[in-house]
């Protein structure tokens, strides 16, 4: 508790003091312990990686316009999809919502001044940047060609690229996830404002809590897998290489023990965002609050029991395959519960189609498609046909781009007035949402068809009869790319020229909307207290704005 100097009403004439203008200079940013400033540091970093990863995707889609490959050598193509996957997953998607929106919102939503461990929070950003530096080193020095999964023996016996620095980068970045997860868990347990009971928390916090469980329990196993890979490469300890007495499938077990739950690290936070946006723009309390909250925790726990569905055709025991298949079907239940509850929330609501809501509705549809196609892949028999084809590529892009990125963009639009204190241009935002939705489907729906027809993934060439669908997909990707550039431009524009937002432009419930935008350094001028459930839209004054 620093000195609680009451900000007396003297300097009110100009812009009131907030977290953005309270201090200036690079030191005040790079040594900040303010969770809101750290969130912005993360925002800048992950945006950088998003466009780097996106550039690799653009090169791939240009290459695939021609059946013989239009742009690069096959070896280079291998590196393109590997670097696209590594950067997008470990340096954009995993930190996206937790480290930016979560960092910004967790203390605000529970009515606290900061996270429980502000220094640890800053440290996690530095660790992330250090890991990113190692990975960028490997990109500049020739890249990696193993696929983002680092499967042995590509990454061990037959490694011929910068595997060690890239793996080291991911190893290091994992610790930043662990610290963020730890920070969120302790903060949510210990720092809730008076009256903020577990069942009054916004559902975004439930999803952050569930995500944090995965961060803390799953990430160490990825670190172990990559460390063992390193041990084997450097000291010839037999772990994954049969010649040394190891088992290549052990790597896949360890890798997917983390990396399947990592899918839920990406999608659970997006689900939390949707649970905030849908009631706000339907002006209704959310349908089935407790069920949505507990389904987040159920997803977090079940996500650790299904990793073997990535190994159905790799030589895993068929009996284990049966168990993993059945367990994978079970994860569909809590996911479907959420979709049904959001839909029920929309029912008879007075819906408005502002940009965040467009992203939320897009999320519900695209996530449903991604989830249902996942069931094709969780079935032992259909997986034999579809595994390793573009069907898988389409499936997980519907989850990660159609789901996680749509959720992230929806959240960025919803909370941008809170983060920046300014409004973005609504017309442009709706247009961008529409462009992204169209571009996304044009990019990835043809890939479902390609995969079903048998086009394998990770190939630099393909038979000529697949060209039409590939050109469709590449055309969609160019539309999608434009769609992603527009928000970047108008968000930057609005920071200076956007209209002043006021504390609560959406008339939303939740503590973060009861403090000025942008929030003051210590979040609240008076310690908040909570007396009502979340999403109490029914009792809200009409026409509040």
């Amino acid at each position: 508790m620093s000195t609680a100097t009451t900000v007396a009403p003297e300097p009110r004439a100009a812009t009131p003091l907030n977290y953005l203008n309270v201090e200036y200079g690079w030191r005040s940013w790079l040594f900040t312990k303010d969770h809101k400033r750290i969130a912005l540091l993360y925002l800048i970093s992950i945006t950088f990686y998003f466009f780097i990863g996106g550039a690799f995707a653009v090169l791939m889609r240009i290459h695939l316009i021609d059946p013989q490959g239009a742009l690069v050598q096959p070896e280079t193509y291998n590196k393109l999809f590997t670097m696209h996957g590594i950067i997008m997953i470990f340096f954009f998607l995993i930190p996206s919502i937790p480290s930016v929106l979560g960092n910004f919102l967790v203390p605000l939503m529970i009515g606290a001044r900061d996270l429980a461990f502000p220094r640890l929070n800053l440290l996690s950003w530095y660790i992330y940047m250090l890991g990113g530096a190692f990975t960028m080193y490997s990109v500049i020095h020739g890249g990696v060609d193993t696929g983002w999964t680092f499967y042995t023996p590509y990454s061990s016996t037959y490694a011929n690229s910068q595997v060690i620095p890239a793996a080291l980068g991911i190893f290091i970045t994992g610790f930043s996830s662990i610290l963020t997860g730890l920070n969120f868990i302790v903060t949510i347990h210990k720092m809730r404002a008076p009256g903020m009971t577990w069942f009054r928390m916004p559902l975004f916090l439930w999803s952050m809590y569930a995500t944090s469980i995965i961060f803390v329990l799953g990430t160490p196993v990825l670190a172990i897998a990559l460390f063992l890979l390193f041990l084997e490469r450097v000291f010839q300890v037999g772990i994954f290489t049969p010649a040394l007495g190891g088992d290549p499938l052990l790597f896949q077990h360890l890798f997917w023990f983390y990396s399947h739950p990592a899918v839920y690290i990406m999608i659970l936070p997006a689900m939390g965002v949707i649970s905030e946006i849908v009631p706000c723009f339907s002006r209704k309390r959310i349908f089935g609050y407790k069920v949505i909250g507990f389904s987040s925790v159920a997803i977090a726990v079940l996500s650790f029991l299904v990793w073997g569905h990535h190994m159905f055709v790799t030589g895993q025991s068929i009996y284990t395959g049966l168990v993993f298949s059945a367990l994978s079907f079970m994860v569909a239940i809590p996911s479907a519960i959420k979709v049904f509850n959001w839909t029920a929330t929309l029912y008879k609501g007075s819906i408005s189609y502002d940009a965040p809501m467009l992203y939320a509705l897009g999320f519900i549809g695209l996530f449903t498609m991604g989830g249902l196609t996942g069931l094709f892949l969780a079935s032992l028999s259909t997986d034999v046909q579809l595994n390793g084809t573009y069907f898988i590529v389409a499936h997980f892009h519907y989850i990660m781009v159609g789901g996680a990125v749509m959720g992230y963009l929806g959240g960025m639009h919803y909370w941008w007035p809170k983060i920046s204190g300014r409004l973005y241009p609504e017309i442009w935002a709706r247009l961008a949402a529409a462009i992204i939705f169209v571009g996304f489907n044009l990019t990835f729906f043809p890939q479902f068809m390609l995969g079903y027809l048998g086009m394998p993934r990770r190939y630099a060439f393909y038979p000529a009869e697949f060209q039409f669908l590939n050109v469709m997909s590449s055309a969609g990707a160019s539309i999608l790319g434009v769609g992603y550039l527009i928000p970047l431009i108008y968000f930057a524009w609005s920071m200076r020229y956007g209209p002043i937002a006021g504390p609560n432009p959406w008339g939303a419930t939740g503590l973060e909307w009861q403090t000025p935008s942008p929030p003051p350094k210590d979040n609240f001028e008076q310690p908040p207290a909570v007396a009502d459930e979340a999403y109490d839209y029914a009792h809200q004054e009409v026409g509040l704005v």
Partner: protein
């Protein structure tokens, strides 16, 4: 935060001595041929050592329920990882090799 009872310094010394004795025991047991029970003995002693560290050095003996749940959850997750991985390894050989084709075509195996 509930004040934790002060553990006397002697307890820590005793636990430390016990850990050293158990290390010696592990080393000694490795020199005696017990067949498959060598592993069992080594893991058994390791478990006791782990419990001593958890309960005394990491204060679990005097912690609240939430801390206990956290510790048990970590152990449970490790059990999931090891259990399901070994489920694969033990059951891989259960499927008998398929009978060869009865036709005149030579049996093909990928």
């Amino acid at each position: 935060m509930a004040a934790q009872p002060i553990v006397p310094f002697r307890t820590y010394v005793l636990v430390f001595v016990a850990l050293l004795v158990l290390v010696a025991l592990t080393t000694g047991a490795a020199f005696i041929d017990l067949g498959p029970f060598n592993t069992v003995v080594a893991l058994g002693i390791a478990f006791i050592k782990m419990m001593l560290v958890l309960l005394f050095f990491m204060h679990l003996l005097h912690s609240n329920k939430l801390t206990h749940v956290t510790a048990v959850a970590a152990a449970f997750w490790l059990l999931l990882l090891i259990g399901l991985v070994f489920a694969d390894y033990t059951s891989r050989g259960w499927i008998p090799d398929p009978a060869p084709w009865s036709s005149s075509a030579p049996p093909t195996h990928p």
